[in-house]
């Protein structure tokens, strides 16, 4: 079990990430706050505890890699990378503007620390399978990827899952941000994706079901994944869309909408941040 200091450090990072998500989307005037906030604790655990990475050397040989397969949650990735020191925070406030380093969806060509350009759902997971195959040949680091629950409706996800199981990619860890909502409403109303854990298990994954906002559970799951041999791991993380900002929580409407100035101030007050 990790010590209290570690857990507190990750919690503080997660809160900073949440503050910066709200501010990025406010300044950009568009973007995806809901599914970014739901993944803040997972990314904080990855970037501030689990992964072997070096902000000074983003392309360091043998490093662990993270692919944001749910690319629309770019603000959570950018906030985590900036908080970890991959680039200055000033860049965050230029998100989505012309000529900016930070594109509406992640671009590996423009942004240090972004391992894959994503946004078209399912592809990041497929690319992660390739990275895990290559990493196994080279004896390099582990590969982590975050998928949305709505993203699981893409056929490519299951092509990639089948391959990960077939090739027994124990260096691959997929996290599913299971917040239950997608653009048009609840997953269960739009297209049933449940049972998520059983699906991955049947494709040959070690499957863990956790509270995606409990830091001890998240880092415990990453630890269990690292110790699992002979099969990939899928961590199904039960989360709340919009987590941390009360008026955004569990509201599908906050999937892809920027808050007003007043709403931003209210959200930041709740998170202990400021504009």
């Amino acid at each position: 079990m990790p010590d209290t200091n570690t857990i507190e450090k990750i919690k503080r990072a997660a809160n900073e990430i949440r503050v910066d998500i709200v501010k990025q989307v406010y300044f950009a005037g568009s973007g995806h706050p809901g599914g970014s906030l739901s993944a803040a604790d997972i990314l904080a655990a990855l970037y501030f505890h689990e992964m072997d990475i070096d902000p000074a050397k983003p392309a360091k040989a043998g490093r662990d890699r993270f692919v944001l397969s749910k690319g629309h949650a770019a603000p959570v990735l950018y906030a985590a990378l900036a908080e970890r020191g991959f680039f200055p925070k000033d860049e965050l406030w230029k998100l989505r503007s012309i000529g900016a380093m930070l594109q509406g969806h992640p671009s590996r060509k423009t942004t240090p620390g972004v391992e894959m350009s994503t946004g078209s759902l399912g592809q990041g997971f497929s690319v992660s399978v390739g990275m895990a195959l290559a990493s196994r040949i080279d004896g390099a680091g582990r590969v982590y990827t975050l998928l949305g629950d709505g993203e699981l409706e893409e056929g490519l996800v299951w092509e990639a899952a089948m391959a990960a199981g077939h090739y027994k990619l124990d260096n691959l860890c997929a996290v599913i941000d299971w917040n239950g909502l997608q653009i048009d409403g609840k997953n269960d109303d739009v297209m049933t994706v449940a049972p998520v854990d059983e699906k991955f298990r049947s494709f040959g994954f070690n499957t863990l079901l956790i509270d995606g906002h409990s830091i001890p559970e998240i880092i415990g799951a990453f630890d269990a994944a690292r110790r699992t041999k002979g099969r990939p791991t899928a961590i199904v993380a039960k989360t709340v869309k919009g987590k941390g900002v009360k008026f955004m929580e569990n509201e599908a409407g906050w999937h892809g909408k920027a808050p007003s100035e007043e709403e931003t101030k209210k959200a930041l007050e709740e998170l202990g941040g400021e504009l």
Partner: protein, 311 residues
């Protein structure tokens, strides 16, 4: 020169030769390794071969992941699935990232033959050449396929390499001087230029031979690289001959003909005619029968040349 060879056969042989000298070459397939000819590589280098099953989207997504980990990937399936089914994965995960993936797509065009319309691709050149940074190659015979593949694998960035199922007559010697991006003038003539690609280069040479007997001098250019197109050769043809006939085993919409016309319209307007698959699907049959019926044989090329010269 060797006997008749399919460009896919040359690809299979090339992979084994290249695999021996290039340790970071990875080959991938989607359950068609016996047809795409990647199976010889898989036997010699089992640790560097990945069969992704019948899942072409994941074939190219995973290929991107391997390439972006510092390796060179040759990923193969039929042209229909590589360019069509997986298009958007190729566009976003390989094109947008400029990944070092060589899409070696076999069984292109109507010469797939008996399998029929569902497997006869006429759209792949059009689709692939719209992706920024994608180099598009369509070799005409076995030797040129090997030479171009070698340059593609040594170059950085994504390539689409169109290969055929049917065995074709040899055109080049193994030591021929062929460079990606630079077309080859195989026969000179001042009346008309036929710019051909892929297996229609052989048909164009037959057409030129037949037309010579009627006193018509035809220049035949092998435009093995469709993107970037060799503008210099198009300008030369426009200036020195009376018109250009393009010939390809692909739709007349958006392929070689489109690429040549785009260049000519902007730089050197010239009379043109287009030999290729019309705006229709194919059917089952023998390759030679189909090429004739769908207007992509030497006869069709000769008729197009004569039609142009009649004005």
């Amino acid at each position: 020169m060797a006997g008749k060879t399919a460009t896919r056969q040359a690809y299979g042989e090339f992979l084994v030769e290249k695999g021996r000298v290039k340790a970071d070459l990875i080959v991938m397939d989607a359950d068609l390794s016996k047809s795409t000819m990647t199976n010889a590589f898989s036997k010699e280098f089992p640790d560097r071969f990945f069969n992704m099953g019948i899942a072409e989207q994941n074939l190219f997504g995973a290929a991107a992941g391997i390439a972006l980990s510092g390796k060179t990937v040759c990923a193969s399936t039929f042209a229909m699935f590589a360019s069509g089914r997986a298009f958007e994965v190729v566009r976003n995960s390989i094109g947008y990232t400029h990944a070092n993936v060589k899409i070696c797509a076999t069984h292109a065009g109507i010469s797939v033959g008996e399998d029929g319309a569902s497997h006869q691709t006429f759209e792949d050149i059009a689709l692939m050449r719209t992706i920024p940074g994608m180099t598009v190659l369509n070799p005409s015979d076995g030797e040129s396929a090997k030479i171009l593949l070698d340059q593609a694998v040594d170059a950085d960035g994504p390539f689409y390499i169109r290969l055929g199922r049917a065995a074709v007559e040899p055109i080049y010697a193994a030591d021929a001087e062929i460079k990606v991006g630079k077309s080859v003038c195989l026969r000179d003539g001042g009346d008309c230029t036929v710019i051909a690609t892929g297996i229609l280069v052989g048909e164009a040479l037959l057409a030129a031979e037949a037309l010579a007997k009627e006193g018509i001098a035809v220049r035949v250019v092998d435009m093995h690289t469709i993107k970037p197109i060799d503008g210099e050769a198009i300008e030369k043809a426009a200036k020195e001959t009376k018109g250009i006939v393009t010939a390809e085993e692909h739709s007349v919409i958006g392929g070689l003909g489109g690429a040549v016309a785009e260049y000519a319209a902007a730089h050197c307007p010239v009379r043109m005619a287009f030999v290729g698959q019309g705006d229709c699907f194919g059917e089952s049959g023998k390759p030679a029968e189909l090429l004739k019926k769908y207007g992509m044989s030497a006869d069709s090329i000769a008729a197009a040349v004569k039609g142009m010269l009649r004005g």
